[in-house]
Amino acid sequence: MEHQFSGPDGPIDVTVEKRGDEWLLGGRKATIERDGRLKVHLANGEVGYATLAKVGDHWWVHFAGHTFNLERIEPGASQSGNDGGLTAPMPGKVLEVLVDVGQTVESGQTLMVLEAMKMEHRILAATPGTVTEVFFASGDQVQQGSVLLAKTEPED
């Protein structure tokens, strides 16, 4: 089964295979424990247990003392939500929403103003398009990485 996760330099494709109770990837194999944990046999023969939790589209994984937060990209989903700068750069509060659903916006237009860590942040449209959804209102608390608005992308 193939899944895509977002990495800092673009999407990462991960294809795992299932044989009986075992999951395989490269020289690794893994089985699901009774408690939902994953027992992973690394390629070097070592064994570890991964603890998982899914929060929104993010898979959180604890393995060998390290914690990972892996955003899964829904198959066929547009990436603009993440790459178009329409996410909150840090936790904060929405000060102002400057656009409405259905409104056409220009590249560089300010869509929303956030207050975070005692500073103002302007959320700008990277490309022209139409606002299709506004997820927060003025006064709302937002979390880092929260998608603030959705808009159409320019046609190729």
Partner: protein
């Protein structure tokens, strides 16, 4: 007599105090803001009363509201914890005037120590060494600047400008050269005036390469003022401690005795009562200087509890009830280390993080103590300090304590909110930490460009595999609290160089 204690605080320290009261057979009252209604500390109290209001100022800092709840609930004592109202002399005074026992020192002692210039003068008079420097009493801008300029020639460079009403780095400026002085002084005064309504600043010589070492003191009404040895808290990021230990690795019996005597003298100079901490800078040559006194229980008190065997919060309760302290002579055994688990992204200059605690599994086993106010399923919000827990280990020796801390941090699982767990784990492998040669600039020195986790490739790959299997097999262990997908999306991936294709 004390029989019912109102805890005017929240989170882990409220839990710590409530449990101590419970063990001491005292009834308890918690006060909480609406967004804390389902917090652990509310459950631990015998009674819990909601504070009206939205902001911190309207809730945990609202003196009159808290006082009237104390009156209505019949509380005969108030424990302020740390932060919030704990060092507000006016509150201590109001509590006392209402006939309620304040669990802490007198308003007068709080005031004398709260104003840093007054504290310096008081300490100097008591024979406690202070950092070479000068207080600037002038409040008028022009007069003050002139006085600062004159004083600077006597103090010498580099020097530090500090706000007399300051704390936490606000109104503080390091000045390397004379030509930078006036700008820095104007900036420090402006910041101090804005933050504390008091622009007064003082000068101190800038001591580099020093350790932050503090002495825990206890004083009762039966004429006993003692110290419980030192803690070292040099490892700080953004003026906030993250790694604390007792004893200090490089401490000698002579310095401990001298520093302990100075701390006791400092406490006695203000007729101190209860638990307090006298902070010092310890220079590499063994000289030490008074920094300030915290007139309350401190975050890092557990390391002292573990090495001395004294239950400091329990002693606070005893002292407030007018009883003598129960602890005997100072006897330090083994070594204790505390790390502060913060909801923050250490790889982004320790930016606070929020999100659900979808999984929160603390480590177990001998020699481990966890002080926390959260549990799995709770939500970390931007409303309060991002400290989630204090993980404290004790072992017979410092090297064993570090080994235990590594093991404990490896076992600790927190998912759903970014934390500094890995940063803390890597701290345990830093040569300065291993050798005990930490100083207050260590983190900036080690990671001038900021910290990033060192993740072995194979571990990263295994994590990606795990996530892919989780998705394929539908192992959706969603958090209780955040059914709403986009509202609970955590911060973006902490690792920096992922650009591969599997298999």
């Amino acid at each position: 007599m004390v029989s019912k204690v109102l805890v005017a605080n929240r989170g882990e320290i409220a839990c710590r105090i409530l449990r101590a009261c419970n063990e001491a057979g005292l009834a308890t009252v918690a006060v909480f803001a609406e967004n804390d209604a389902t917090s652990l500390f509310v459950e631990l109290a015998d009674e819990a009363v909601m504070l009206s209001g939205e902001t911190i100022t309207e809730t945990y800092l609202d003196q009159s509201q808290i006082l009237s709840i104390a009156g209505a609930s019949g509380a005969d004592a108030i424990h302020p914890g740390f932060g919030f109202l704990s060092e507000r002399a006016d509150f201590a005074r109001a509590v006392t005037q209402a006939g309620i026992q304040w669990i802490g020192p007198s308003a007068d002692a709080i005031e004398k120590m709260g104003d840093k210039m007054t504290a310096r003068i008081t300490m100097r008079d008591a024979g406690v060494p202070v950092i070479p420097g000068e207080e600037i009493e002038q409040t008028d801008e022009i007069e003050a600047l002139a006085a600062i300029e004159q004083a600077s020639t006597r103090v010498g460079y580099p020097l530090l400008l500090k706000a007399s009403s300051g704390g936490g780095g606000k109104g503080m400026r390091a000045v390397e050269r004379p030509e930078e002085l006036l700008d820095a002084a104007r900036g420090a005064r402006r910041e101090a005036l804005a933050a504390f309504g008091d622009g007064r600043v003082y000068l101190e010589r800038l001591l580099t390469g020093s350790k932050h070492v503090e002495i825990q003191v206890l004083a009762d009404r039966h004429g006993r003022t003692i110290h419980l040895g030192e803690r070292e808290c040099s490892v700080q990021r953004r003026h906030q401690k993250v790694f604390e230990e007792a004893p200090c690795a490089t401490m000698t019996e002579e310095i401990r005795a001298a520093m302990g005597d100075a701390a006791v003298a400092a406490a006695m100079a203000v007729n101190y009562e209860g638990a307090g901490t006298v902070e010092f800078l310890l220079a590499p040559n063994g000289e030490f200087f008074f920094l300030e006194m915290n007139t309350r229980i401190q975050v890092e008190h557990p390391v002292t509890e573990l090495v001395t065997g004294v239950d400091i919060v329990r002693e606070q309760l005893r002292i407030a009830a007018g009883e003598p302290m129960s602890c005997g002579e100072l006897h330090i055994r083994g070594h204790a280390i505390e790390v502060r688990l913060y909801a923050e992204d250490a790889s982004k200059n320790f930016l606070p993080a929020i999100g659900p605690l979808a999984v929160f599994i603390p480590p177990e086993g001998p020699g481990i103590r966890l002080d926390t106010g959260v549990r799995q399923g709770d939500e970390v919000t931007p409303n309060y300090d991002p400290m989630l827990a204090k993980l404290i280990v004790w072992a017979p020796s410092r090297i064993e304590a570090l080994q235990r801390m590594r093991r404990a941090l490896d076992e600790f699982v927190v998912l759903g909110t970014t934390t500094n767990l890995r940063f803390l784990r890597e701290l345990c492998d830093v040569p300065d930490v291993i050798d005990g040669t930490t100083d207050t600039t260590m983190i900036d020195r080690l990671w001038p460009q900021g910290w990033n986790p060192q993740v072995p490739l194979e571990i990263e790959d295994a994590a990606l595999m795990a996530a892919a299997i989780g998705e394929s097999a539908g192992l959706h262990r969603r958090s209780h609290t955040s059914p709403d997908a986009h509202a609970s999306a955590g911060p973006v991936s902490p690792f920096a160089t992922l650009n591969r294709r599997f298999p």
